[in-house]
């Protein structure tokens, strides 16, 4: 299975941000055997990155690869939903 490249946009140390980080790490460990490359971006420290990626809400998780690119918003507490979105798409030709 190819490695997951994920970007997680958070805002400072807010409760939602911390919850999202914890949830994401948990999902990666349990479901994807740490086969994830996670980049955490704080929009308050780097607003220009939020601008570039057109981020409106935090937390936002962007699955950059493998394709298709997907956007998930919220604190990732609905783990089943997160997993089904991150799992490789069998229909995808790549």
């Amino acid at each position: 299975m190819s490695k997951l490249h994920l970007k997680l946009y958070i805002s400072g140390y807010s409760l939602l941000s911390r919850r999202a980080v914890t949830n994401l790490k948990q999902i990666c460990r349990v479901e994807f055997e740490e086969n994830c490359d996670i980049e955490i971006i704080d929009v308050i420290k780097s607003p220009q990155l939020a601008e570039l990626a057109n981020i409106t809400v935090t937390p936002t998780l962007v699955k950059e690869s493998p394709p298709p690119i997907k956007r998930l918003v919220g604190d990732l507490s609905q783990s089943e939903r997160v997993i089904s979105e991150l799992e490789p798409d069998p229909e995808c030709p790549y």
Binding site: V43, T56, V57, T58, K70, V73, D75, L76
Partner: protein
């Protein structure tokens, strides 16, 4: 201790205002928007909220070199750039010069993010702050607050962030305009109760349907800690210019008046008026169709040309060719004079645009041509295309504009009935005009004669009689008063015999003798 604290009491802080640059708005806002505050601009769909927000930024750049940040929750920046081109705002160039910056929070087509839990809108706040810092912006526009909720959901977290956003804007010392949707013209301030976030200032834009016609008005509902003009003011959205507010009641009644008389173009009429019209007065001529109103306008223009004045005629009933032909029939050569630049004739159908647009165009033409005399033929034609209130505002706006520039104005109004009667036009504007001249048909022994009287002339003696006048190839000729007819103005004529006339005359003589 008490004495000390009372000593420290200071007068309420002076609220500095930021000139928006939106024509007319700064007048009703008495200087502009309160500096470093947020203003809610609420209106129904199509009430020009987005134009207002854009113009606020555009004018800041053009007139004050102040950079602006536009936060869009609805339209994409590409769409805004395109739509605002029509107003002459070159957003793309300004973006290149770092004077304009978009914070694009508009929905992306086809992309529907998966929701996995709670979220907040902290990035929007961070991006706005970042944009303000990088451009050193003084003005911010957010379009629109309601779209935040439709796009991000109306949750407690989003509402909390919106509060934070407004607070942050205040701290950043920027003046912000935030738009919000309304569902009805007269009702709640805005949807989603957004007014609870923006407490400082509220401006309402309306787009009211009145007698099958749309009428735009703007109202400043409140300005915290400072004054503004109250009530609704008409405004219009002009191509290549944007919003223009027509600040009618804000016009001050302080025009000077002069004793200088000008010639009406009809000698006998000058006599009736005690030596001519005053130079900066507004004269209303009212009469039924065919009584000679256009002739009077023509002669008024002719008199001006003869005296070396510049004359401007707004015609709403006849075409230029018709006017020129008629004038030459009365011995006045409009064609040559307009070629020489002594005369300018502007013909337009009243229906071509709303009354507000007519007013602004007329003002532009007057400003451009700088005439000494202005005639409008006829006001009644304009009344057709407007509501009662809109018409009154139009006349007030036009008269005060003309008087301020020390010009003489001659307006005509058509009465709806052939005999007697007063037009609605008159009752609306009779108090605004300085002189009123009535032209009436008089039925006499199976013949239709014409009568003229000077009903009112501010600041001067004038003839009180109703005189007969005739029209021939050289124009209007005023003759003797009607002695033996009464009830001309009401249209209910009674004919008095000469015996009766003498008796009445003697009656008054006797009375005055008795008093002495």
């Amino acid at each position: 201790m008490n004495a000390e604290s009372s000593k420290q009491e200071q007068p309420p802080p002076f609220v500095e205002k930021l000139k928006t640059g939106i024509p007319g708005f700064d007048l009703i806002a008495e200087g502009g928007l309160p500096h470093s505050t947020c203003t809610l601009v609420a209106g129904t769909a199509g009430s020009a909220k987005t134009v207002f927000a854009n113009q606020f930024l555009a004018k800041g750049i053009v007139e004050a070199q102040e950079a602006g940040v536009f936060v869009t929750f609805e339209e994409s920046p590409a769409a805004i750039r395109k739509h605002m081109q029509g107003f002459g705002w070159t957003i793309e160039n300004w973006e290149a010069d770092n004077l304009w910056k978009f914070v694009d929070v508009s929905p992306v087509l086809g992309e529907k993010p998966v929701v996995t839990g709670e979220y907040d809108m902290a990035p929007v706040l961070a991006r706005i702050q970042y944009a303000i810092e990088t451009t050193q912006a003084k003005r911010v526009a957010i379009d629109s607050l309601g779209a935040i909720f439709t796009q991000l959901g109306d949750t407690a977290l989003i509402r909390g962030d919106l509060f934070q956003l407004i607070g942050a804007l205040r701290q950043l010392q920027v003046t912000a305009v935030l738009t919000a949707e309304r569902t009805e013209e007269y009702g709640d301030i805005a949807r989603y109760g957004v007014e609870e976030f923006v407490l400082d200032n509220v401006v309402i834009l309306r787009n009211i349907l009145e007698g099958e016609k749309r009428r735009r008005t703007i109202e400043i509902l409140k300005f915290r800690g400072t004054s503004h003009q109250k009530g609704e003011y008409p405004f219009t959205v002009l191509p290549r210019q944007g919003i223009e507010v027509i600040p009618l009641s804000a016009i001050q009644l302080q025009q000077q008046s002069s004793d200088i008389r000008i010639q009406s173009g009809i000698n006998e009429l000058d006599h009736m008026c005690g030596g001519g019209f005053f130079r900066d007065s507004i004269i209303l001529t009212s009469g039924a169709t065919g009584t000679g109103k256009t002739l009077m306008v023509t002669q008024f223009m002719g008199g001006g040309i003869e005296a070396g004045e510049r004359c401007l005629l707004f015609a709403f009933e006849e075409s230029q060719d018709q006017l020129f032909r008629n004038a030459s029939g009365w011995g006045i050569d409009f064609e040559t004079e307009s070629a020489n630049g002594h005369l300018r004739v502007v013909c337009r159908y009243p229906e071509t645009s709303g009354l507000e647009d007519h007013l602004i165009r007329m003002k532009e033409i007057i400003e451009d041509y700088q005439p000494n005399r202005v005639a409008v033929d006829s006001l009644s034609a304009l009344e057709r295309v407007s509501s009662e209130k809109g018409f009154r505002e139009f006349v007030i706006g036009l008269t005060s504009f003309i008087k301020h520039r020390k010009m003489a104005g001659l307006f005509t109004a058509t009465t709806p009935t052939l005999l007697g009667g007063a037009s609605v036009t008159e009752s609306h504007i009779s108090t605004i005009t300085d002189s009123i001249i009535l032209l009436r048909y008089v039925e006499m022994y199976g013949e239709m004669l014409r009568g003229i009287t000077v009903l009112k002339m501010r600041g001067s003696k004038h003839d009180k009689e109703i005189r007969e006048f005739t029209i021939d190839g050289t124009g209007m000729h005023i003759g003797m008063p009607f002695r033996n007819v009464t009830g001309i103005l009401s249209g209910n004529f009674t004919y008095a015999s000469s015996d009766e006339l003498n008796r009445l005359n003697n009656l008054f003589n006797e009375q005055s003798e008795m008093r002495e």
